[in-house]
Amino acid sequence: MSAIPLPMALVAEVTHRCPLRCPYCSNPLEMARASQEVSTEDWSRVFAEAAALGVLHLHLSGGEPMVRADLPDLIRAASTAGLYVNLITSGVTMDEARLAVLIDAGLDHIQLSFQHADAAEGERIGGMRGAQARKLDAARMVKAAGLPLTCNFVIHRQNLHDVASMIALAYDLGAQRVEIAHTQYYGWGLINRGALLPDADELHVATAAVEAGRVLYAGRMAIDYVTPDYHGDQPKSCMDGWARRFIVISPTGNVLPCHAAETIAGINFPNIRDASLADIWLRDPAFQRFRGTDWMPEPCQSCAFKEQDWGGCRCQALALAGDAAATDPVCARSPNHQALQNLIAARPSVAPDFIYRQNAKPNSPD
């Protein structure tokens, strides 16, 4: 095994609680309760350890991170440690006083999530009435405070025909960047896959709208496009490779190489209450399990692209091929590739009703 690279970014899922109920939520089906969440003190220690280990960006995520009353303390601890602090929020609980406190604590950037450009459709998808107006207000507050803003739109078969309006809305709100991201099929997204998965024609519509937007807004707003799972012949470099650049920490303190890693049975993930982040990153067997290329089976092992896509996604290999150590079935060289094509072709012709995320007691006290 060659030298272990230093981690670049930490995604801290500080809670699973959320006022929204998006049917593609990446949180696990079994969500952590408030009483199980990592304390302010432990998060603060972890942020200092992360910065010392080489982490540069911290993404505060969830759930809705703003439901944590100690969010300003978390931001201050991270900023003091030298981390670049990005808050990923739905914006529905934002107000001007709260935002001012977060900025004063050292917040660097906000990524604001939207379910649609259209209010009624956005609120149907997110499962929260009145959410859109609050999001629009939140965007205006962020801009008024002079903080850089990224708008994030998650797309799927039920909203991808409106990508052009999403890009236009982000521009009107003053975003420096808009992220158009296809849903991923883990957690709630896997349960709702039939209601979310685009076919090739729909995918083409969304991609064409992104390409047109990039021309229209060139030099004024950056457009990031997260391509969909399942489509394509070469897998995405999931997380840029297992335990190469990213650390994800769950609300209960489990340290993971990706959001969905806990779906892989048979791997015991370490907890920040039991070890230092450096020990975990450098030595924990869960982090070594799929790191680099030694673990790879054929056809990955002899593939010229093995250090580009790092074998694709382990959780997707598990979900589609039944084996986390298999070649990602998106790869045309995978023996499971045709089965995946059949699965896309067999998607229900009419999108079934969403199964909404059930929340982990969003109103329970901190």
């Binding site: 230093l6 670049m8 540069l56 660097d108």
Partner: protein
């Protein structure tokens, strides 16, 4: 934004420039990226404090590296014009 010798470059909110002890390099952090500037860019970026003009920063560099001011000025204007175009620096002296 036009960057001139009278410009007062500053890092806007949402941009961080700091030393990363783990890698022993200076890093320029934007919302989505971490850049590691080369030695020449570092010398310029380290002179940015939100108060000095580019002319002041260049004079200091010319003195420190014993190099002609006009050559350094051309390089610094090119670098900072590029960074300003990407929103990584702003000009506090801009009207």
């Amino acid at each position: 934004m036009t960057i001139t010798p009278d410009s007062v470059p500053a890092f806007p909110r949402g941009i961080k420039y700091r030393f990363d002890a783990a890698r022993a390099v200076w890093v320029l952090l934007t919302p989505e990226r971490a850049m590691m500037p080369d030695e020449n860019a570092q010398a310029v970026l380290s002179g940015i404090d939100g108060e000095r003009t580019i002319a002041g920063i260049v004079a200091d560099l010319a003195d420190r590296y014993q190099a002609p001011t006009d050559v350094i000025m051309a390089d610094v204007l090119e670098l900072l014009t590029d960074l300003a175009g990407r929103g990584i620096i702003t000009d506090r002296n801009a009207s």
